[in-house]
Amino acid sequence: MTTTLKYILTFRWANLTSEVSGYLSGVALLGATFSTMHGVTSRYFLGHPTIWQTELSVYLLLFVTFVGGAYGLKQHAHVGVDLLVEALPARPQLLLRLVASTLSLGVVLVVLWTAIAMWWEATQNGWTSSTVWAAPLSIVYAILPLGMLLVACQYVAFVIEGVLGLFGRKPQEEIAILKQQNPELSAAHTSDPEPAGPVGLGSSPSARPAPTDRSM
């Protein structure tokens, strides 16, 4: 099997799409900030009513949630209860991680399926949001299925990697689902004295997951 074919079949490219989704979500965050800010200032100082700003900000928020979800998954940001799993020896732990990931993949696929149906209905009927701005719902409703698709791809990559590990085709320490949840859950930049991090598109899939703050 050629390397390219292997790359495609094992869904390793999903690491790249997840990475890109993170950067896009970062931009969406800034967009939501300035759009909201624009709404406040134009309403307060110029007396203009807020028309599109609030709505656009919410859609960008949805983008961060669902499309950013793929990046979050790659970075192990989605918090879970690891107490029991981590007490297990390596092989049963991998097995349980695989079960959990497959179940999660199932959930994501169900959401993806129903979200596509919702989007298709809105697109067929040319629906718009019921506000003055009348945003086309074909675009708005595309955010959820797009995000779920990206999350699903990342999960498929995780599961394939896990199965390869189960059959000894991949060393344990390279398997992403076993690296779940770094205990150093601090805000990354305060505990990390080095400015260089996993920055740059398509950083290696085995990169150490950035710790994520889950205290809220």
């Binding site: 949630t65 940001a77 994501v108």
Partner: protein, 455 residues
């Protein structure tokens, strides 16, 4: 009954290590199939979409972004130094400074771990170097950090507000006084705790001296730089230290000001805050590098998607539960038992405390609020007051094992200190926090008078 089956399902999916968001998703899929029938399935995506399609939720990523921007700046250092200049003459003054710095930092961010990390990496090494007992130092920072979710802005209060449809502005106002009271209680504990700890260490040192003869080179007592023999700060030094933190205090006043003057909603105030922080960091302090800025954005994406995915899926399960009338039934059953309402409150707090030992605050708040809200209101408790009690309860969970996040955060910041010392240092504060819950139950006006004054 149906409620119990759903709870057991969720518990199983949590325990096998599924991410909480997807565990809730799977629970709701199965609940719909079991109890409502597959015809309701078409609405699944709509439920998720609607749960997240809320302008109020935007406050969460924006306040998180604001906190993360601060985390990388020198603000925590300035705050600690200002506290030190004013408190160094008091016994345990350095540890008190870190609690004070934490409570002000908490007003700049909505997260506890961010507070503990930011203050910890400045304050703990400084305190160690100056001879503050290690447990006093780490305990003050771990516990002080928990104020992040109580003092506004607070991510947990935003979520409670959205889940219970109470005013986030009122909840924020309600968090201020308890935040100040708990800060003072923490400082009082530090005053006594430092003396106890110094005596304990002196005893230990004496014992080791008796054992190892010859090594006694006069290190029987740990030198303390805080206390009566601390270095003097002149009044002008104190003024300068205070001046350095003035821009941040102005920022806090600015963000809360636009909120309470009725100019902006919490989400809008958060956006104003982010823009102000960007200006402050860009103009007044050394700017944030491009790379660092990208990192802050990515980290904010991670935290936001984690919280909001849980919100999205818990929205579905809340809808399913209310279809099945589970919260109303629970409220009915409990009311029929005809117990004293304070006994029920104690039971609720114990349940929350146990959950808090295993789950992060966000997931507890979004899961529990829709179920408990009818009960709380039915029993005649003030829902704003309960939001604060619940948040203090979550604070305890952040410093108790096995999943006390602040303990691990702090260990990540100061890896050379044993987790046991951090844990033991933080332990007394769980009692202080528990005591404050009792205090606010006896004197609920400490919580409620400020929101009543402002609204």
């Amino acid at each position: 009954m149906q409620g119990a089956i759903i709870a057991v399902m969720a518990l199983v999916f949590f325990l096998i290590g599924m991410p909480i968001a997807f565990a809730l998703g799977l629970t709701s899929i199965l609940s719909i199939l079991l109890f409502l029938g597959p015809s309701e399935f078409d609405l699944f995506a709509k439920f998720i979409f609607d749960a997240t399609n809320d302008f109020g939720l935007l406050a969460i990523p924006l306040f998180v972004l604001m906190g993360n921007l601060f985390g990388g700046s020198t603000v925590s250092k300035h705050l600690f130094e200002a506290g030190e200049a004013w408190l160094s003459k008091i016994r345990g003054g350095l540890a008190m400074s870190s609690v004070m710095a934490s409570s002000i930092f908490a007003a700049l961010t909505g997260s506890s771990a961010a507070t503990a990390a930011a203050i910890g990496h400045v304050a703990v090494p400084e305190m160690e170097q100056r001879g503050v007992p290690v447990r006093i130092a780490t305990g003050a920072v771990a516990a002080g950090g928990t104020l992040g979710i109580l003092i506004p802005p607070s991510v947990t209060l935003i979520l409670y507000g959205i889940a219970s449809e109470e005013s986030i502005g009122q909840l924020f106002a309600a968090g201020i006084m308890p935040g100040i009271v708990i800060t003072i209680l923490f400082c009082i504990w530090i005053y006594f705790g430092t003396q106890l700890e110094e005596r304990r260490l002196a005893r230990m040192a004496e014992n080791t001296e008796k054992v190892s003869v010859g090594s006694g080179s006069g290190t029987s007592a740990t030198p303390t730089s805080a206390g009566p023999d601390a270095p003097d700060f002149t009044w002008s030094q104190r003024a300068v230290a205070l001046l350095k933190v003035l821009p941040f205090l102005a920022l806090i006043v600015g963000v809360l000001g636009v909120l309470y003057a009725g100019v902006a909603t919490p989400s809008e105030a958060a956006a104003v805050g982010v823009v102000m922080v960007l200006l402050l960091i860009g103009v007044a302090y050394r700017g944030l590098g491009g790379r660092q800025f990208v990192k802050v954005l990515l980290e904010t994406t991670n935290q936001s998607t984690m919280i909001l995915m849980i919100v999205a899926f818990s929205g579905v399960i809340a809808t399913v539960l209310s279809f099945l009338r589970v919260p109303q039934e629970l409220a009915g059953i409990v009311t029929e038992m005809d117990l004293n309402k304070w006994i029920i409150m104690v039971v609720i707090n114990i349940v929350l405390l146990v959950m808090g030992c295993f789950l992060p605050p966000v997931s507890i708040i979004v899961m529990v609020t829709p179920i408990l809200y009818p009960l709380i209101v039915g029993l005649g408790f003030d829902p704003i007051w309960f939001g604060i009690i619940m948040t203090i309860n979550m604070e305890i969970g952040l410093i108790t094992p096995p999943v006390g996040l602040n303990l691990y955060v702090l260990q990540g910041v100061v890896p050379h200190i044993a987790l046991k010392d951090i844990l033991m240092g933080a332990l007394p504060y769980t009692f202080v926090l528990g005591g404050s819950i009792v205090l606010f139950s006896i004197f609920p006006w400490i919580v409620t008078f400020l929101p009543k004054l402002l609204y």
